[in-house]
Structure formats: structure tokens, C-alpha cells
Amino acid sequence: MTEEPAEHIDEDVLERYALGALNDEERHAVESHASACPRCMEALRREALIAAGVRLAGRADLKASLRRRIDAQERPARRWRMLAAAAVACAVTGGTLYYAWIGRWGHPVTPPPPIAQSEALPADKVVRDDGSSAGGLAGSNAPAPAAQSAVGRTAAHPPAHSPEGAASTAREELKSLETAGPATPSRVGEEGYWSEGIVEETPTHNDALQESGAARALSAGAFKKEAGELKGAAAKDAMTGERQQFHLRQKPASALPPVVGEKQRLAQGTLVPARVDQRGTTTTMTLYLDTLVDETQLRDASVRQAGGDTVIVELGKRKILYRIPTAAGAGQQGK
């Protein structure tokens, strides 16, 4: 039986060994001594265990901190991408409906006048191009409610597009729009129908790929009209297999959601209701456009910041002022 050495390794040396702070010579000396000294070997093991456990905690802290920083940086970018996608989705829906409308009535519809320049008319004054009263599209025969007809295209109101002042800044636009008066109750648009563009996004850590997947789905024209409704498309990313769902559909006025959230105001004065639903980790942003947009507007659709949490979605000459709701507010709006 070998005798245990009379001297033992100093605790400072043990700590430095556990920290990997000894040079090769010192380390070999420690290991050589410990191999013949059970007490030192046990102390060495205990020291290494403490160091390993504390480092484990340190790694976990750093990982959690890193995750928070990544999330904090990605959250605004994700919102922007969602909004841009929602705007494009609206435009796609509008464009499709525009051409569907041509097919039905034989000639293109003209955009409706802005609220600020149009008078609220009773339902019986709202007429189609063929002279009939406003009614359903896409298989619905329900008449448009009178209160919702004010934005409707009327025979007495030709299209009006106010040219935007090139020099006006986004903040000035914001200010003028905000001072244009309180939001009025939601109204339905063209012949009692709204173009609804919804983008559902489940946040992950690969937004760039999601975005490219979304773009591919849109550019591939993956939407089709079924029984008067534009069904959604599922974009699958070939690399990741991740899916992003789009639901684009034309809704009759009667099918508008009972609770419409924050109203948005077009630069021309038209109100656009918007809604944000948050369910679990999925956020759904919906803009309801009261008019139809064509493919040219789709190509030019853009989103830019107007300061703070406000953005302007531009569809051709039309502008939608959109205020990104907070997470808490979004949850309430969705209820």
C-alpha cells in the first residue's frame, strides 16, 4: 500500500487547475501529486465539479441574455415584414378582384371617391354601373347595410385622386391625417365588399427565409378563386420545410368581423379598419381596404416609417396610415 504524501496541494493551486490557469509543467505536477494522494485527488475533483457547475450556470445566463437580445432586435423587423406582407397581400387580393370584376361587368371599375370628398348617401342612392342597387358579390345576396354605403361608388361621384404633395414629409402627413377628425364608424367599400388581406406569421428565428417563402408564394400567383372566395396559399420553404399561411378573401359586408379594431385613415381621408389578433405565438394582421387595387399598384406597394410606431403603406397614389399596435393592445383588439 502506498503512503499518502505528508503535504497536500494548496487550495489556490487547485482552483487555478480547475480554471485551466496553470502552465503545462504546473499541471503535470498537480496531476502527478494527486495520483499518489487520494485526499488531493478528491479535493481536485471537488474543485473541478464546483467550477463545472458554476460555468454551467454562467453559460445558461449568457444564452438567456443572448436570446433576449436577438428577440429584442428581431421583433421590430418582424413587425415590419408582416406589415409589408399584409400590404402586398391586400394588393394581390384587390388586383385579382379587379380583374374578376372586369370579367363580370365587362369594363373596369373606377376607384371610389375618398370620404373626405364624398357625401354620405342613403343605400338606395348607391348604384352599380348597370344601374342596380348595391348588393352582394361572390354568391351572397344580402343587401349592403345603409350605414355602410357611404364609401360606395356612386354614379354621381367620379373617381378622384388627390395628388400627393411631393415635398410633404412623413411626419407632416401623419400630423395632417391625425388632425383630420375623429374616426367614423367602419364602412364598407366597393358595392359593400372589402378586400381582405391576411398574413399569418408564426415567429421563429428564421424570418428571412419566411419572407422569401412568402415572396415566392405571391410571385407564383398561388392564389385561386373558389366559390367567390380567394383561398389561401401555403408557402413552403424548400430549405427548411417551414410554412407560412396566407388567407386572402373577399368578404361581403355582412361578414365583416363584429369587432373591428383601430381605424386607419387613408391620406385621402378614407378610413381603413385594421385588426390584429394574437393567438399563442401567431400574430395575424388584417387590413380592410375599401377599394380595389390593380397590379400596377401591387408592384409599387411599399411601406415606410412615419415616425415612432406609425407606418405609411403606399398602394399607388393611395396611402394608408397604420399604427402598429403594441402586443398588449393587439391582444385586446383581437378579442
Partner: protein, 190 residues
């Protein structure tokens, strides 16, 4: 003379920032390396969440290596991170397979010492839990010493303690308290 490694200056700047404790440098590296690591992991049956976790672990390993002064920049930083992530992912896959099939072979680990290898993850987790239960300021003192590898003087300065000797004495007490807690937990588990 032209720089033989044109990417080196940017990588060196990032390493320098990590050395100073700037976590934002890790966020930059995360963004830059996310796609290749995702491709690596998803190609071999992993999920995006796995890739995310593996990349974060690789970045933490980089941080640890740089902060301890052991890191030497000999290749592109992206290559280093990718290689580290690949090793982590391979080890994880071997462990998953072992858990599924009951294999006992351990994956090779070039960085760990024999002593570290002798310490199981379970034991290290017990220490971590005991550390959390220890509370402050012991938790921070031990983290600064063993994880951040700060000197006694720096710890005294960061925690507003009188001097290095005060820290050394307090650290000793904290370590003994931690060892006692760990021993109790291990005995209880036995």
C-alpha cells in the same frame, strides 16, 4: 505589406469586443452564421430550434474561450463557429442515439480534460441548482470568479467591496457553502 487574411481585421475586432464583454458582438455573429448552421442541422434531421440552440452554444463556447484568453484566431471566425457548432451537433446526435439505442460509447471531446470528463452533466447540474439556491452575493461572486475568470481586484471593484482580500474571504465562504449544499443534494440522491 498586404494583410494575408483580408477578413482578419473584422474578425479581430469582433474578438476584441467579446474580450471586452460586449454581448452585441455575439448577436452579430448569430445573424451571420444562422443560415449555414441551420442548413447543417436541418440537413441531418434536426429542427430549426435545434440549430438555434446549437449556434447559441457555439457562440457561448467562443465567448468562454475568448474571455479566458485561450482563443487564438487562426482561421475565419465563421469557420470556427461553424466547426464548433458541427461538433456540438454531432455530440448531441450521438447522445440522442445513445439514449435511444442504449449504446455506451462516449463521443470524443478534444477540449475537456480527463477530470472534466469524469464529471457528469448530472453532477454539474446539481451544482448549478445549488448555486441558484445560494442566492446573492455568493452567486455573483462565484460566477465572476469561475465563469468570467475575473481577478479578485476586479470583482472587488465591480461589486463595490473593500478590497481583494475581502473578496477572497467572501469567495471562500461562498464556495464552502456551495460545497455543503452540493454534498447534501448528492447524499440525498444516493
Amino acid at each position: 505589406m498586404a494583410d494575408p487574411l483580408p477578413f482578419a481585421s473584422r474578425d479581430a475586432a469582433l474578438i476584441d469586443r467579446i474580450g471586452k464583454g460586449e454581448e452585441d458582438a455575439l448577436v452579430e455573429l448569430y445573424r451571420e452564421n444562422r443560415r449555414p448552421v441551420e442548413a447543417l442541422v436541418t440537413r441531418s434531421g434536426g429542427r430549426k430550434e435545434d440549430a438555434d440552440d446549437v449556434l447559441q452554444e457555439a457562440l457561448v463556447a467562443l465567448w468562454e474561450s475568448v474571455r479566458s484568453g485561450r482563443f487564438r484566431l487562426s482561421a475565419r471566425l465563421g469557420t470556427y463557429i461553424y466547426a464548433t457548432a458541427r461538433n456540438i451537433w454531432l455530440r448531441r446526435r450521438v447522445r440522442m442515439r445513445r439514449e435511444t439505442t442504449g449504446e455506451v460509447a462516449d463521443p470524443p471531446d478534444g477540449e475537456a480534460s480527463p477530470l472534466e470528463l469524469a464529471i457528469g452533466e448530472e453532477e454539474a447540474s446539481i451544482v448549478r441548482e445549488a448555486l441558484e439556491a445560494l442566492g446573492e452575493p455568493c452567486r455573483t461572486i462565484l460566477l465572476l470568479y469561475y465563469w468570467e475568470e475575473e481577478s479578485m481586484e476586479t470583482i472587488a471593484s465591480r461589486l463595490g467591496m473593500a478590497n481583494a482580500d475581502t473578496v477572497k474571504s467572501r469567495k471562500y465562504q461562498c464556495k464552502k457553502a456551495l460545497e455543503a449544499r452540493v454534498k447534501r443534494r448528492i447524499d440525498r440522491n444516493d
